[in-house]
């Protein structure tokens, strides 16, 4: 297994290099337009040229790429073209928000998804199974942005409620006031978790059904164990192995979902930063944030692959 982990780790390097190269080359396509946008139509060619030189866009490509990579290694990601704020400063400010949102979402989706899937598998065909499956299908079909808007809309119309961060105080960090902070993140995380938990629920259910058919479960029953012991000690542990793999794929979807949810609920996270920069064509920001998202996703998948080998003893000893 150690070779497996080592091989997997080594693979990450060329992939990340390829990702960086691809990101860099793609955004070189709009480098010219960026200058146009910063300048507007009122600039003369001379001003435009000097702006290009200032931004370093006239150097040969390999030099720009090398400098960018070197900057990444040193922690210098460039500056926003719109606000001249260094990218790292903005990221430092916004990263905790996105991380908190993603962490809460993962917690909620696991807390909602796994028990529902287990119960549904233990009592197939029952009323609770049907209810769970209906909610499941709704969760898979309703897009998160629609759900978010409905939550805000009907919260307002029926309860006069508005997300706390819309008001005067703005965003409150966790260490300032934990209770208000959790209130601000509760609904965004729940909305995002709804879709994610539907996938987990469905997978847990089918995985549990598969596991419950196994011989070792029958052995456990015939030993006289109570249902709770059979389920918790044997069934759930084995059923959750494929779920770990799916969590990795889900993380990618959640990274995208964070972009949308942060926009709707006015949470100033990295996702919202990316979106704003895309609209403004803020080249250096988009480049760096896209790379960041890809790097995080690659790391998550690496962790999932490694943990999969660790969790499933069959792979470990094969």
């Amino acid at each position: 297994m150690r070779e497996y982990i080592l091989r997997r780790l080594l693979l990450v390097i060329p992939i990340m290099l390829g990702v960086a190269l691809m990101t860099f080359l793609s955004f070189q396509l709009i480098a010219g337009d960026v200058v146009d946008l910063k300048c507007g139509f009122t600039c003369s060619d001379a001003v435009r040229q000097s702006l290009r030189e200032e931004l370093g866009l006239t150097r040969p490509l390999y030099q720009q790429f090398g400098d960018w990579l070197w900057g990444l290694a040193r922690g210098d990601l460039g500056e926003s073209l719109a606000t001249n704020v260094p990218v790292t400063t903005e990221l430092a400010r916004r990263l905790p928000i996105t991380l908190e949102l993603l962490a809460l979402t993962m917690v909620f989706s696991i807390l909602l998804g796994i028990p529902a899937g287990v119960i549904s598998a233990l009592r197939p065909g029952s009323i609770i199974d049907s209810v769970v499956r209906v909610i499941n299908v709704i969760g898979l079909s309703v897009p998160s942005f629609y759900l978010a808007i409905l939550v805000i809309l009907f919260g307002f119309v029926w309860f006069g409620w508005s997300p706390p961060q819309f008001g005067a105080g703005g965003h409150v960090a966790f260490y300032e006031d934990p209770w208000v902070n959790l209130q601000q993140f509760l609904f965004p995380a729940l909305v995002l978790a709804f879709g994610s938990s539907a996938i987990i629920m469905r997978l847990t259910r089918s995985s549990m059904l598969e596991v419950l058919r196994q011989d070792y479960i029958r052995t456990a029953w015939s030993k006289g164990l109570r249902e709770r012991a059979v389920v918790t000690r044997h069934a759930i542990k084995n059923a959750t192995i494929p779920i770990v793999t799916i969590l990795g794929l889900e993380a990618g979807g959640l990274l995208g979902g964070a972009v949308i949810i942060e926009s709707i609920f006015a949470l100033n996270g990295v996702g919202k930063y990316l979106l704003e920069s895309v609209i403004l064509r803020d080249l250096f920001v988009v480049q760096s944030v896209v790379l960041l998202f890809a790097a995080v996703y690659v790391m998550i998948n690496l962790a999932v692959d490694v943990s999969y080998a660790w969790l499933d003893p069959r792979i470990r000893y094969s």
Binding site: T23, S141, R205, I260
Partner: protein, 338 residues
């Protein structure tokens, strides 16, 4: 003994052949959810194709004297803040969703399958090269990849100007499709994401197909690689491709809605379900005007639901062992982020 048996003169009993429509009816009765899904999708296609000529209120021209009317008999879904009939807009939105969905999935699956078959069948160097490329593209989360593509191909970019100047793709209305070029670019963008998802799966299937003896036999008989691919590999991958298409179509529709919602998809004013959920309509919800936002979103959810139900039913029919909500690890649902 043999003569006794022969003497029995057993007559073969012919079972009455069931006409096709009867079989279909039995299937329908066994899978009511699938029928519901099918009905939804038929409604979608109908709205998309015939949207223009249906007798509903005007969805595109502004009627500023009829702003924000609540649902009533003359406007069953009410009007939005520019006086446009929401029912009409919802029906026209179906066209964009359907179009983007079908084009992106067609483009994506075609490219993905071609690459997957070549990659899987050719093996060695070509396979490695293609797989590295796919690995790199797969490293980007889907929405982020889409955002990147849109940044590079959006309005006022060198890329888009290039396309406008050097190709003859129409910019405005073409075949009744508004803002044709933008829709085309969005579809191809989503198609790239779909292709990336398809390559891996198809390659896996081809790799296992290659193990079959008949491939070796064909090669021994002198069949060229091309012939083997066409005659043996492609037909066997076809079923998988249809399943993939049924999974990716709702995802593509959701993707278009999501990027239009974020404001970076279809241009301003084009009737799209995603776009109708944002902008002025969203502002209006703060005043309790819920209908411009509610109905397009409901239509979107129903369409995705329809595809999910239909896909589930197909998988049930094709392989009942997959029943139990599995179907390959929860495939066929909307992407969690969307």
């Amino acid at each position: 003994m043999a003569q006794d048996v022969a003497a029995l003169e057993i007559e073969a009993v012919e079972l009455p052949k069931k006409p096709a429509w009867r079989k279909a009816l039995t299937l329908a009765r066994q899978h009511p959810l699938g029928v519901a899904g099918l009905l939804i999708i038929v409604t979608l296609i109908f709205s998309g194709v015939f949207g223009d000529i249906l007798p509903v209120g005007d969805a595109e021209k502004l009627h500023l004297d009829e702003k924000q009317l609540a649902p009533s008999l003359s406007h069953p879904f009410g009007t939005d803040n520019l006086g446009r009939d929401v029912l009409g807009r919802t029906i026209l939105g179906a066209r964009i969703s359907l179009l983007v969905g079908v084009v992106s999935v067609t483009v994506g699956i075609t490219i993905g399958t071609a690459l997957g078959v070549i990659s899987g069948y050719a093996g060695s160097f070509l396979d490695s090269v293609i797989q590295r490329g796919v690995d790199i593209l797969l490293a980007f989360p889907a929405v982020v990849l889409l955002l990147a593509i849109i940044t590079v191909t959006g309005d006022d970019t060198a890329f888009k100007d290039f396309i406008i100047d050097y190709t003859r793709i129409p910019e405005n209305t073409f075949l009744g499709i508004p803002v044709f070029l933008d829709i085309f670019i969005i579809s191809v963008g989503i198609g790239i994401a779909v292709a990336v998802g398809t390559v891996r799966v198809v390659r896996g299937a081809v790799l296992s197909l290659k193990e079959n003896v008949y491939i070796d036999a064909a090669r021994a008989m002198g069949a060229s690689d091309w012939r083997i691919m066409m005659r043996h590999i492609f037909p066997n991958v076809a079923a998988l491709v249809v399943v993939l298409a049924s999974i990716f179509l709702p995802i593509a529709i959701l993707a278009e809605a999501a990027i239009s919602f974020l404001g970076i998809g279809v241009p301003e004013g084009t009737p799209s379900w995603g776009a109708d959920l944002t902008g002025n309509n969203r502002e209006d919800t703060r005043n309790g005007i819920w209908w411009p936002v509610f109905f397009p979103g409901l239509a979107l959810s129903l369409v995705v639901l329809g595809f999910n139900l239909l896909g589930d039913t197909f998988r049930d029919i094709a392989d009942p062992r997959l029943r139990g909500g599995g179907g390959g690890g929860g495939g066929g649902g909307g992407s969690p982020g969307l």
